[in-house]
């Protein structure tokens, strides 16, 4: 069952309290004090400057600085401005937003309210993946409580500021986690990503200036307002401040959620916090940040979990979804599962992605069956290379990177399949 993180810091500290998901429980721990402070004592520019100084990076995968994103919203004009909370968590290996929605909906709403004040947004659309029925129920309940207490609506906390929150449930499509695919879906259409520019800050939800942030990004905001930029910077690294919630899955003794400072070494998370590999087996590889991010081999797990260090190893933090694979794992099977997913979820707009994801999946499966040729490995690398940076959104890149990572570090697994004309890893997980 969904349990509170094994290691907690400021974001998840109170997630074990039964009443914390309710407004009364949240206020018992000082909840909505930060929003009151922002709305009554700070100008919108003060808020943006503070979040910029704190160095909060988006926690949805790309790591874009949140304060800077907010500052892109136009200040002039009478067109309504919107926020979108991206709660379409569907990156394989990621399950942190789910607990933030279920146990911390008010914390997220408070962050939304502060961001709304900072950007002058009149409404926020919270887009929650359709499969997250229970988390969506919790968020809807929290929104109703906030309206009843006048923390949302026409006159927020008696300040005259008006803000509405609308909860929209998705219907099962990974691509709707991409911010412009999400906007299309929010408008009642197929979730096919938009060409950029124009960026959402100019032309977003329903054609209006829009900022899209992830659930966790909003959830950090009240803490920054309350305790300041220096306090926030006391967690994490200089370039990547704060904590994040790492989700650890796969071959570990204690899979689950761990809220830790950015920059915590991957090896510490896997071997100390998550208890290492069961049965005394050795680790073979670890995907550090959700399935789109290239794998790291056993020898590179000393890397601190922050983008400035992960980039040097040709991978990224992504959503912090850590997938651990032990020595029995066949990396061609891993490639098969990954490439099937991207083939299945490609929205089909761009040729490179629609065709490329299918080709990769077919070739990988042929190699796994023992019917592959040595030159198939060259074709794989070639197709993956030709999918990068050529499409409307980053989905094609996200489909290519993990395959490139597997070929970079585990080419021998592929070569052995071709040479032996069968899968040489009889003890690997079943396909």
């Amino acid at each position: 069952m969904l349990e509170r993180p094994y290691v907690t810091q400021y974001l998840t500290e109170h997630f074990g309290e039964a009443d914390y998901p309710t407004l009364e429980g949240y206020e018992r721990f000082g909840g909505y004090g930060a929003a009151r402070k922002a709305l009554t004592e700070m100008s919108p520019d003060d808020v943006i400057e503070l979040v910029k100084t704190a160095g909060l990076q988006g926690r949805g995968g790309a790591g874009f600085p949140a304060g800077m994103k907010w500052s892109f919203m136009p200040k002039e004009g009478d067109r309504p401005k919107y926020l979108v909370c991206n709660a379409d968590e569907s990156e394989p290996g990621s399950f942190k937003d789910r607990i933030l929605l279920e146990r911390g909906a008010h914390q997220m709403l408070e962050g939304i309210l502060i961001a709304a004040w900072a950007t002058g947004a009149s409404a926020t659309f919270i887009y929650i993946r359709g499969e997250y029925a229970h988390p969506a129920d919790q968020v809807e309940r929290a929104v109703a409580e906030a309206y009843a207490k006048k923390y949302l609506g026409k006159n927020v906390m008696g300040t005259g500021f008006a803000h509405d929150v609308i909860v929209t449930r998705g219907a099962g499509a990974y691509i709707c986690g991409e911010e412009t695919g999400l906007l299309e879906s929010l408008e009642g259409k197929k979730g096919q990503p938009r060409k950029k520019p124009p960026f959402p800050a100019q032309y977003g939800a329903f054609g209006m200036p829009t900022t899209v942030n992830n659930v966790e990004t909003f959830s950090h905001v009240p803490h920054i307002i309350e305790k300041g930029a220096n306090w926030f910077r006391s967690f994490g690294t200089e370039k990547s401040p704060g904590t994040t919630i790492f989700g650890v899955s796969g071959h570990v003794v204690r899979p689950g959620l761990y809220e830790l400072p950015l920059g915590t070494p991957l090896s510490e998370i896997v071997f100390e916090h998550a208890g290492g590999i069961p049965g005394g087996r050795k680790v073979k590889g670890v995907i550090p940040g959700g399935m789109s991010m290239p794998i790291l081999p056993a020898g590179q797990l000393d890397v601190p979990m922050a983008n400035e260090f992960l980039r040097e190893r040709k991978t990224m933090l992504g959503t912090g979804g850590i997938m651990v694979m032990d020595e029995t794992t066949c990396m061609v099977r891993v490639a098969s599962v990954i490439s099937y997913f991207f083939r299945d979820e490609s929205c089909g707009q761009c040729t490179q992605c629609r065709e490329g994801t299918g080709w990769i999946n077919k070739i990988v499966d042929r190699v796994e069956r023992g019917a592959g040729e040595e030159e198939d490995l060259e074709v794989l690398a070639d197709v993956a290379g030709k999918m990068e940076a050529k499409t409307i959104c980053a989905f094609a890149d996200a489909a290519a990177w993990p395959i490139q990572g597997l070929l970079r570090h585990f080419r021998d697994d592929f070569v052995e399949h071709v040479r032996q004309r069968k899968c040489p890893f009889a003890g690997s997980f079943e396909l």
Binding site: E91, G93, A133, M325, E430
Partner: protein
């Protein structure tokens, strides 16, 4: 008229929340599907009238999303997540054994139309694998016996 008055009034409430009418199309399809189990051509025509769009635009949306159906469905929906974190912890073998238990090949339904068994991509339960989603509810930290008991307890 296939869409009930009650559902029409819920759709009207949803429409009032969005800056443009069409924003409420996904919520409306969720409502219609909750009543009818799927979105029939008749439902699509009526939704198109409500939203002032063409029926094909409704069906384009219905067929784009995995959780919407354009044909009648089994009475219970069982999806085993087979993405990487779940596969690493035995999801494929769980799915295979549930196939034998029900006598179906996934994706497929039992001859009496009681259960549809399929696989699904990541459902955000990676730390509690393997898992399955049954009629919208998550069941996590499964083993084969536990999963079989859940299936056996489903109504006719």
């Amino acid at each position: 008229m296939v869409i009930s008055e009650q559902t029409r009034s819920k759709i009207a409430t949803a429409i009032s929340k969005y800056p443009q009418k069409r924003g409420a199309l996904l919520p409306a399809i969720h409502l219609v599907q909750a009543d009818h189990g799927h979105v029939s051509n008749e439902c699509a025509v009526e939704l198109a009238e409500i939203f002032e769009i063409r029926p094909i635009e409704v069906m384009e949306v219905v067929t784009f999303y995995n959780m919407f159906f354009d044909s009648p469905q089994a009475r219970h929906h069982v999806y085993v997540c087979t993405n990487l974190p779940c596969s690493l912890r035995g999801a494929r073998s769980l799915l295979n054994q549930l196939e034998s238990h029900l006598g179906v090949t996934a994706p497929g339904e039992t001859p009496d139309g009681r259960i549809f068994l399929g696989h699904e991509e990541c459902l955000g339960a990676c730390g509690y694998a393997p898992m399955m989603r049954v009629d919208g509810q998550y069941h996590e930290d499964l083993d084969v016996e536990k999963a079989k008991r859940i299936l056996d307890s489903l109504g006719k």
